[in-house]
């Protein structure tokens, strides 16, 4: 899933990224770092539009590759 985010051009902070479940480190209680959810806002208000645009770009790329293969096979 994180690959999908990079592919969207959005960089999700490490503190927010985890497709496998968020685990706190063993020394968590003795550390003082913070991990605000607000940093996720990097995805922005046009989140779904960006996501759809990403899907459209990938579909376009796939169509291009398929067209090239078809051209090479049939010429």
């Amino acid at each position: 899933m994180s690959g999908r985010l990079q592919w969207l051009g959005a960089e999700l902070p490490e503190s927010a990224k985890c497709a496998k479940g968020v685990v706190l480190p063993a020394d968590y209680m003795s550390t003082t770092s913070s991990s605000p959810l607000a940093s996720v806002d990097i995805l922005g208000p046009n989140f779904k539009k960006d996501l759809d645009r990403g899907i459209a770009v990938r579909m376009l790329a796939l169509a291009g590759v398929a067209g090239l293969v078809w051209y090479l096979v049939t010429r």
Partner: protein, 261 residues
């Protein structure tokens, strides 16, 4: 040596039923924080790191592994404050049982500023980076947005308008039960409302974002329907979604987790 355990934080207004606790197969600590007099004060003295503060106070000696927060009705105010805190990025799962409310804006839509934190967490869940289970009744409160309206707001904010479940939802059956409402000025006449099955209205899922909406059986007041959410939907969210997620993932297995410090 400190005990490493998954931690579920709830408030006494909608605590964690003992009946569901055996469903969690890995070491899990169930913390019930006393409900405050004012919900704006629920994290007072626990900031800037409420997870550290709550674990140190209510489960001393525990090193939290994964953290979930559970709210029912007013205690969803505690959940959103946790999400908005400097520990927001560390929370693996949030369960909001018939309690996400917001004021209205000029267009009589849920106030965007009040919904922002919920929407940000929903984005992560949408991408399967977190688990976010929202359940709601169809109770219509006076002068502010209902849990139905806020659930729709979140779903629509992510660009979705139709109902679908991707991946498919698990079995959502619930044993028949009834809810007794004692007579009172706010609750109306004494009555017992039957729930042979959940009165489903909407079932939506995208990745780790789950929205389960119910119709009201207790018309017109809906008091029993709100109580039914605590009685049935709260346990359902804990067992079918949170326990299923945590049981399925071994947090100690290589590559099975990411560490958020």
């Amino acid at each position: 040596m400190a005990e490493r355990a998954d931690v579920i934080i709830a408030w006494s207004h909608g605590g964690i039923p003992k009946s569901v606790q055996p469903e969690f197969q890995r070491p899990t600590r169930f913390i019930t924080v006393p409900s405050p007099e004012k919900w704006s004060q629920t994290l007072a003295g626990l900031l800037p790191s409420p997870i550290r503060g709550i674990v140190a106070k209510y489960a001393p000696g525990v090193e939290p592994l994964r953290v979930a927060v559970l709210g029912f009705s007013a205690s969803c105010s505690g959940v959103v404050q946790m999400l908005a805190s400097s520990d927001g990025g560390r929370i693996d799962s949030a369960l909001a049982i018939d309690g996400i409310h917001a004021g209205y804006d000029a267009q009589k839509k849920p106030n965007a500023a009040s919904m922002k934190t919920w929407v940000e967490f929903a984005k992560l869940a949408f991408l399967n980076e977190r688990l976010f289970v929202i359940t709601h009744s169809s109770v219509v409160p006076p002068n502010y947005a209902s849990t139905t309206e806020t659930a729709n707001y979140i779903w629509n904010a992510l660009g979705e308008s139709s109902d679908f479940a991707d991946p498919p939802l698990p079995d959502l059956s619930v044993a028949p039960t009834s809810v007794h409402v004692a007579a009172g000025p706010a609750t109306g006449p004494d009555r017992t409302v039957q729930y042979p099955a959940p009165p489903w209205k909407t079932q939506r899922r995208r990745g780790g974002l789950v929205i389960l909406g119910c119709n009201n059986n207790d018309v017109p007041r809906g008091t029993a329907d709100h109580i039914y959410q605590a009685k049935a939907m709260l346990s359902l969210a804990l067992t079918r979604f949170l326990a299923a997620r945590w049981n399925n993932m071994d947090p100690n297995a290589p590559g099975a987790s990411c560490y958020v410090g």
